[in-house]
C-alpha cells in the first residue's frame, strides 16, 4: 500500500513538473573566482530587501558564458560571473541566440599572488624569473631548450638556493589563464628579447604558455585552500592563488614581491602590483522586468556599502575600483547600457 502511494506521488510530481512555472528568483552562473563576492551580495540582498535570495551556481567563466548566452526565457540564467572580460565571439553567440542586450558590470579587481609560509625567507622576484622557473621550454644562450633550472639561484644569484617547488592551479582554472597571460607571457617576451631569440607565432605560444611538467610545478587542483594548507606544511614551496586567500590567511602566509611590488590591497587597487585582473558580472537586459528584483540586485551590487573600499565585499577580499571608475560603472550598469561589439574588440 505504502509503495503504491509513493509511486503515485512520484508520478504526480513528474507530471506537475512538466508545466514549468514562472521563476521569481534571480539565477546566476559563472566564475568560481567571482562566486564568493556575488554570493555575499546575494545573501545581503535576500536578507535586507525581502526578495528571494538569488541562486548562484559555480560553473567557471567559460561554462557560465555558454549557459548565459543560450537564450532568453526563464529556463536560462539572468546573470553570469566572469573572471575575465566577455569575448567578442561570446557576445556573437549571445546575439545569435536572441540575447541582444547584455549589460557589463565591472565589479573590482583580484590580484594573483605568489606566496610562501610566514616562516620562510622573503622573496622578491621578477615576472621574467617566474617565467624561467615555471615554463616548459626556455631560451638559454639564444636557443630554446627544455627548462634546465632545478633551483631558484640557478636563474638569478639573488634568489635563494632552494629547489623550485610551486603549487598552482590546473589548466581548467581561470586563475591559471590569468597567470599565464599576466606573468608567463610578459616574462617570456622579456626573456626572448634579452636572449635575442625571434620566434614564429605558434612557436611563441608553445614557449610562452606551456608550464613545465617535470614536478617543479605541482597542479594542486582548483581548491586554493588546499594550496594554503600545503604551504604551511612545506616552507620551501610557493603557491599561486587569488589575493583573497592571502588576505584571509595573512597570519600564516606572505606574498612575494613581484617586479618590486608587495601584493597589498593598496598596490593592487592602484595598479602598481602587476599581476591583477578585473572581475565582471554580466546581466541579461531582456530579463529585466520579467524576473523580479534584477534592477534592485544591480543597485545593491553597485552600492557603496557593497563594493566600495570599506564595503562588505572588501572584507571578503575584493579589491575596489577607484571612486571615479566605480561611479562611471554604476551609472552605466543601473541604466542598463548594453555593451557593444566594438567595446569588446577594443580590449583584445
Amino acid at each position: 500500500m505504502l509503495k503504491k502511494t509513493i509511486v503515485l506521488a512520484a508520478l504526480a510530481t513528474v507530471a506537475a513538473a512538466g508545466a514549468a512555472e514562472a521563476r521569481d528568483q534571480i539565477r546566476f552562473v559563472g566564475s568560481s573566482t567571482v562566486y564568493p563576492f556575488t554570493t555575499t551580495v546575494a545573501e545581503n540582498f535576500g536578507k535586507t530587501t525581502g526578495n528571494k535570495t538569488p541562486i548562484v551556481e559555480s560553473t567557471g567563466t567559460g561554462g557560465g558564458m555558454k549557459l548565459f548566452c543560450a537564450g532568453v526565457g526563464t529556463e536560462h540564467p539572468d546573470f553570469t560571473n566572469a573572471s575575465r572580460r566577455m569575448k567578442a565571439s561570446e557576445l556573437e553567440t549571445c546575439q545569435k541566440n536572441g540575447v541582444q542586450d547584455v549589460t557589463e558590470i565591472k565589479v573590482g579587481y583580484d590580484g594573483i599572488v605568489v606566496a610562501n609560509d610566514k616562516a620562510a625567507p622573503e622573496m622578491a622576484i621578477s615576472r621574467k624569473q617566474l617565467y624561467l622557473a615555471l615554463a616548459k621550454q626556455v631560451p638559454v644562450d639564444g636557443k630554446i631548450v627544455a627548462n634546465p633550472y632545478a633551483s631558484w639561484n640557478e636563474i638569478d644569484a639573488s634568489l635563494p638556493n632552494e629547489k623550485i617547488e610551486v603549487l598552482g592551479p590546473p589548466p581548467t582554472s581561470g586563475t591559471r589563464d590569468a597567470f599565464v597571460e599576466l606573468v608567463m607571457e610578459v616574462g617570456c617576451e622579456a626573456a626572448l628579447k634579452e636572449q635575442k631569440v625571434e620566434l614564429g607565432k605558434d612557436e611563441m605560444k608553445a614557449v610562452c604558455q606551456q608550464v613545465r611538467e617535470d614536478g617543479a610545478y605541482v597542479e594542486a587542483g582548483e581548491n586554493d585552500n588546499l594550496i594554503v594548507q600545503k604551504l604551511q606544511a612545506n616552507p620551501n614551496a610557493f603557491g599561486i592563488f587569488g589575493y583573497s586567500f592571502l588576505d584571509q590567511n595573512s597570519g600564516a602566509l606572505k606574498g612575494a614581491k613581484v617586479d618590486g611590488e608587495v601584493p597589498t590591497y593598496e598596490a593592487i587597487a592602484s595598479g602598481a602590483y602587476p599581476v591583477s585582473r578585473s572581475l565582471y558580472v554580466y546581466a541579461k537586459n531582456a530579463h529585466v522586468g520579467t524576473i523580479p528584483g534584477m534592477k534592485e540586485f544591480i543597485a545593491e551590487y553597485t552600492s557603496p556599502r557593497a563594493w566600495s573600499a570599506d564595503g562588505y565585499l572588501a572584507d571578503k577580499g575584493l579589491i575596489a575600483m577607484p571612486d571615479a571608475e566605480r561611479e562611471k560603472v554604476a551609472q552605466a550598469a543601473n541604466s542598463l547600457q548594453p555593451i557593444t561589439m566594438e567595446q569588446l574588440k577594443a580590449s583584445h
Binding site: 510530481t13 506537475a16 568560481s32 564568493p36 545573501e43 541562486i55 548562484v56 610566514k118 588576505d247 600564516a252
Partner: protein
C-alpha cells in the same frame, strides 16, 4: 635440480631404488622442504596483515584528520548583551509599531549601542567600526526576529544572546596566533583586547552550534549551516527511491522470472551490467540533455537530481535484486505452482517476500552511493549557493556532498572546520544506512 626443493622428487628414480630407501627418501625430501613451505605461508600471512594494516591506517588517518579539524565547528561562541530597542527606532511616522515598520527598521543600531555601552571610551569612527566587527550579522537578524515575534519587547531591556563574527570565534577557540605582528592578522590588537575584556566580564560563552544544523548556506561562516543541504539531499533521495526501487524490482522480476533466455535478454543483461560501470558524470550530461533541455524541467531542482541519480542507481538495484531472486530455491516455486498457484501468485506470495531482504539491502547500498554523489549534479545546476531551505522537490537546492565541496573552496578560515564537520555528518548518514543494510540482511535473510 636442487635436492632440498620439494619437487626435486623424481618418481622414476625412486621406483628404480629399493622400497625402504624410497620411503625414507620421500620423508626426507618432504621434511627438508617443509621449513621453506611454512616460511612461504607465514610470509603470505604477513603480506595480508600488512595490507589490512595499511588500509586501516589510511582510514584512521582520514578519520583523525577530519575529526581533529572538524570538532571545533560543533561549538560556537556567543556574546550576551543587554539590548534595548527604543520605540522611536522601530516606529513608523505615526509613532506606531507595525509589521511594516519592524521590517524596515535598522536593528544593527541597538546592537551597536549595546556593545558601545560596554566600552564607553571607544570614540573614533574607525575604532568604532573595529568594535562593531565583533558582532555577526546574525545578531541583528536574531534581534529582529525576537521583536517581530513579540513586539511588546520594544522599549524594554532584553538580554540577547548572539553569535560573534567568525574571526572572533576562531580567537575564542585559540586558533588565532596573537604573537604575530598586528598588520599580519585579521584582528588588530584593540579588537583582541576588547574581546578579552568581554571574556573577563563573563559576557562571552561557548555553546553547542545549533546554527550549523538549522541554517542554510551563508557567506558568513558563523551563520552557515547544513540544514538546507540535508533537506535537499532528502528530497533528491526520496525521488530516487520512489523511482528506482519499483522500476528496479520490476525489471529484475521480469528478467529473472518471465523473460525467455535468448540473445535479446542476454544483450539487455550485458547492457545493465555495463551501465553499472558508466562514470557518473555521464548521467549528469544525459540529465542536462534530456530532463532540462527536452522536458524543460527547472535547473537545480532535487526532482531532476533524483531522476539523474535514479539512472545511476538502477543497475545496482537490478543486479542485487536479481541475485536475491536467484537465491530463492526452485523448490519453493515448484511447490507453489504444484498446489495450483498462478505464476503471478507464486512470485508475489512466495518468491518476492523471500527475496525482499536482499533487494532492500541492494537498494540501501544504492541509495548510500547516490547520497555521496556530486559529479552528475554539477551538470544540472545543483552545485550552487542556495540560502533558502527548499520546501519541496521543485525548489532550488543543493545536497550534502556539494555543500562540502563549496565550503572546502571558500577562502574564509572558519570554513575549514565547518567543512570537516559537514563531512562527519555525511559519514554518519552513510554509516547509518550501511548499518541498516547489514541489520536487514542479518535479521531477515534465510539460508537454505
Amino acid at each position: 635440480m636442487a635436492p632440498n626443493t620439494p619437487n626435486a622428487y623424481d618418481p622414476a628414480a625412486a621406483v628404480a631404488a629399493e622400497g625402504r630407501t624410497v620411503n625414507r627418501n620421500i620423508a626426507e625430501i618432504v621434511n627438508s622442504g617443509l621449513a621453506a613451505r611454512y616460511r612461504a605461508e607465514r610470509r603470505f600471512k604477513v603480506y595480508g596483515v600488512v595490507a589490512i594494516g595499511v588500509a586501516l591506517a589510511m582510514l584512521a588517518t582520514l578519520f583523525v584528520t577530519i575529526f581533529a579539524q572538524g570538532w571545533t565547528a560543533f561549538t560556537t561562541t556567543v556574546i550576551e548583551l543587554p539590548v534595548t530597542v527604543e520605540r522611536e527606532m522601530v516606529a513608523n511616522a505615526q509613532g506606531e509599531v507595525t509589521t511594516d515598520s519592524l521590517a524596515y527598521a535598522n536593528f544593527a543600531v541597538p546592537m551597536r549601542k549595546a556593545l558601545e555601552a560596554q566600552f564607553p571610551d571607544v570614540t573614533g569612527r574607525s575604532d568604532k567600526r573595529d568594535l562593531y566587527a565583533i558582532l555577526s550579522d546574525g545578531a541583528t537578524y536574531r534581534l529582529q526576529n525576537m521583536i517581530r515575534e513579540n513586539p511588546e519587547l520594544v522599549g524594554r531591556e532584553i538580554l540577547l544572546e548572539a553569535p560573534v563574527a567568525a574571526d572572533f570565534d576562531l580567537l575564542a577557540k585559540g586558533q588565532v596566533d596573537t604573537s604575530v605582528p598586528e598588520t599580519e592578522r585579521r584582528l588588530n590588537d584593540n579588537q583582541v583586547a576588547w574581546f578579552q575584556t568581554l571574556q573577563e566580564r563573563d559576557l562571552v560563552d561557548s555553546q553547542f552550534n545549533t546554527i550549523l544544523f538549522t541554517n542554510g548556506d551563508s557567506r558568513q561562516p558563523e551563520l552557515a549551516g547544513i540544514w538546507g543541504a540535508v533537506v535537499g539531499s532528502f528530497y533528491t533521495l526520496l525521488v530516487t527511491l520512489a523511482l528506482s526501487f519499483p522500476i528496479g524490482v520490476a525489471a529484475a522480476v521480469y528478467l529473472e522470472e518471465f523473460a525467455p533466455k535468448n540473445k535479446w535478454t542476454d544483450l539487455i543483461e550485458v547492457n545493465i551490467n555495463n551501465l553499472a560501470a558508466v562514470p557518473s558524470i555521464v548521467f549528469g550530461l544525459l540529465g542536462l540533455a534530456v530532463f532540462l533541455q527536452v522536458f524543460g524541467l527547472p535547473r537545480s531542482a532535487p526532482l531532476v537530481g533524483g531522476l539523474v541519480l535514479t539512472l545511476m542507481t538502477l543497475p545496482t538495484i537490478i543486479i542485487a535484486s536479481r541475485a536475491a531472486l536467484k537465491s530463492v530455491p526452485p523448490s519453493i516455486r515448484e511447490a507453489a505452482l504444484g498446489v495450483g498457484a498462478s505464476k503471478l501468485q507464486m512470485i508475489t506470495h512466495h518468491v518476492l517476500p523471500l527475496a525482499m531482504p536482499g533487494m532492500l539491502t541492494g537498494t540501501i547500498i544504492g541509495m548510500a552511493q547516490a547520497l555521496g554523489e556530486t559529479a552528475p549534479l554539477l551538470m544540472i545546476g545543483m552545485v550552487a549557493f542556495v540560502v533558502d531551505i527548499p520546501g519541496g522537490p521543485m525548489d532550488p537546492a543543493t545536497v550534502l556532498p556539494v555543500q562540502i565541496f563549496l565550503w572546502a573552496d571558500s577562502p574564509e578560515r572558519a570554513f575549514v572546520a565547518r567543512t570537516s564537520a559537514a563531512i562527519m555528518v555525511l559519514l554518519a548518514f552513510l554509516v547509518v544506512m550501511n548499518a541498516l543494510a547489514v541489520i536487514l540482511r542479518k535479521k531477515f535473510e534465510r539460508r537454505w
